[in-house]
């Protein structure tokens, strides 16, 4: 399992670390989970054009890193994702008041974010009219958590020499064709159906662990972690 952390510490706690490298990795993790929700929220809430929304997203994270916005987060008051959205609302309001597009991109460090892909997703899968934007931010955040966890699972299966487990997970859970069955997948991979169910159980077990790791990483306290897990995974989560 080379290069694969078994458990992740809270990013929210790590961004306050005195260790510069630790802090940098924490920011990377935080930006990778939140930049798409921030970009799509900005596009829909303030009806910004794609360039403008990309600028705002870049500037928001760059300023947050520079000014250490998130150090003031108090887990007793709200979930971290709610706090981040409120920071974004405040940041955007100030920016619009100053009406200074040059300033926005100005001295900010540019992050490597694929806005073209995010824009393509918005065009191909548009939000319904009158969508509740808080709910949209939450849903995009959930999408981010799952997307990163699926990527984690792919890397883990490859690192453990079990790419077939990820392939079966993809064929059965992620992108199933009509009439998918254990027997049909078994025929395709020339393995018995019982081996298919074992591989799938492995992939699901690891996926479950990886999602929880990602959530643990994106929350500050155990209570927040549990509350967020319940909010995206439902009553079944313990």
């Amino acid at each position: 399992m080379s290069g694969f952390p078994t458990t992740r510490r809270s990013t929210v706690a790590r961004i306050a670390s005195i260790d510069g490298e630790e802090r940098r990795r924490a920011w990377e993790a935080l930006v990778s989970a939140y930049w798409k929700p921030v970009y799509k929220y900005s596009r829909l809430k303030w009806k910004l054009d794609p360039d403008h929304a990309a600028d705002l997203t870049q500037a928001f994270f760059a300023r947050a890193i520079e000014k250490d916005f998130f150090r003031s987060y108090d887990p007793a008051k709200a979930a971290f994702r709610t706090f981040l959205r409120m920071c974004l609302d405040g940041f955007a309001a100030n920016e619009f008041k100053a009406a200074s597009r040059q300033k926005r991109g100005g001295d900010a460090t540019l992050l490597s974010l694929d806005f073209q892909t995010a824009e393509g997703e918005l065009v191909e899968h548009p939000a319904a009219p009158n969508t509740d934007l808080d709910a949209l931010f939450h849903k995009e955040w959930v999408r981010s958590v799952f997307t990163l966890s699926v990527e984690d699972l792919r890397s883990l299966c490859e690192a453990r020499g079990k790419p077939i487990c990820f392939e079966i997970f993809r064929e059965y859970d992620l992108d199933p064709e009509d009439g998918v069955s254990y027997a049909r997948i078994g025929e395709r991979h020339r393995i018995p159906a019982t081996t298919v169910t074992n591989h799938l159980a492995f992939a699901r077990r690891e996926f479950r662990r990886l999602v929880l790791d990602r959530l643990r990483e994106m929350t500050a306290t155990d209570a927040e972690f549990r509350s967020e897990a319940r909010s995206i995974l439902g009553a079944g989560f313990e």
Binding site: T117, E121, E124, H125, V142, R143, F146, T147, L148, V150, E151, R154, F169, D173, L174, D175, P176, Y182, T194, T197, N198, A201, F202, R204, R205, F207, R208, V211, I232, L233, G234, A235, G236, F237, E238
Partner: protein, 279 residues
């Protein structure tokens, strides 16, 4: 990683919840649904080569399997097995009922009342074992392919004497804050109202008695409620209903329709013959 559309998110959430049965005698087939306090899956039992239902129980509902296992009754789904998944979630295995929930089965009145009586029977049995269901509604009654009537979803069931807090579904829930057997009687009354939306006066009185705001004003037991519904079906006197003379006459006429027709025919024939021979 490519974009995960909403249906993929739903499937991933299901995959997250799916029980890990890799080291057990069961193979996961498909999710059946989510009920009170847990998700139910169809699984294959390799030891007995049959399909059964496996319910993964949510946090806080650990007592469910023990409660259901105490209730051996033809109207209550039997528990075959129970255990704990590798991730710590408890589960239990029960008979897989092939059928439709009550709200999806169109029933004419006499048949609907016969189904209702079987529900009352199961609930009366549970009460006799000190258990209240707390979430009676049409969705939790299953009509099997061979006409079996089964009360499902004992996820929020509780000990009757423990003064459990109110639970269940608005519209079927009794108003009192602490649940007792009388609260199930209220839910049965609401269930009856759902089954027979335009009841005749005696049946309306039965519903009214079962759904009284004060628990002590309701039927004392599910068996008493069932007795009144049976009386209504048989055309005998319903205890909850104060009938007028006209209603009593109409009820007796309905009940003894055949005798009345026979006697009337006899009297008419006697009269005709009387006048015929006097001519």
């Amino acid at each position: 990683m490519s974009f995960l559309p909403d249906p993929a998110l739903r499937r991933l959430r299901d995959a997250f919840d799916a029980p890990d049965l890799s080291d057990s005698r069961y193979t996961l087939l498909e999710p059946i649904g989510r009920g009170g306090m847990g998700a139910v899956y169809a699984v294959h039992d390799a030891a007995l080569d049959r399909r059964v239902a496996l319910k993964v129980i949510d946090a806080g509902a650990h007592a469910e399997s023990r409660i259901v296992a105490r209730l051996e009754h033809p109207g209550i789904v039997p528990v075959h097995d129970s255990g704990t998944l590798p991730d710590g979630r408890p589960y239990y295995v029960m008979k897989l009922v092939e059928g439709e929930p009550l709200h999806r089965v169109p029933l004419e009145m006499p048949e609907a009342l016969r189904v209702f009586l079987r529900v009352c029977d199961a609930i009366a049995f549970a009460h006799s074992r000190g258990i209240v269901h707390r979430d009676l509604k049409p969705e939790n009654i299953m009509i099997g392919r061979f006409g079996e009537v089964l009360v499902l979803d004992w996820g929020v069931a509780a000990e009757a004497h423990a003064g459990a807090p109110r639970a269940g579904t608005p519209g079927f829930q009794a108003p009192e804050p602490e649940v007792t057997a009388a609260s199930d009687i209220y839910s049965l009354g609401m269930l009856l109202r759902e089954l027979v939306p335009e009841p005749r006066p005696p049946l309306r009185s039965i519903i009214e008695r079962a759904t009284q705001q004060r628990p002590e004003a309701r039927y004392e037991s599910a068996a008493d409620l069932a007795r009144d519904v049976t009386a209504f079906l048989d055309g005998t006197r319903v205890q909850a209903h104060r009938e007028s003379l006209g209603e009593a006459a109409a009820r007796l006429a309905r009940k003894h329709q055949l005798w009345i027709v026979l006697i009337a025919t006899y009297l008419v024939l006697r009269t005709i013959l009387f006048f015929w021979f006097r001519r």
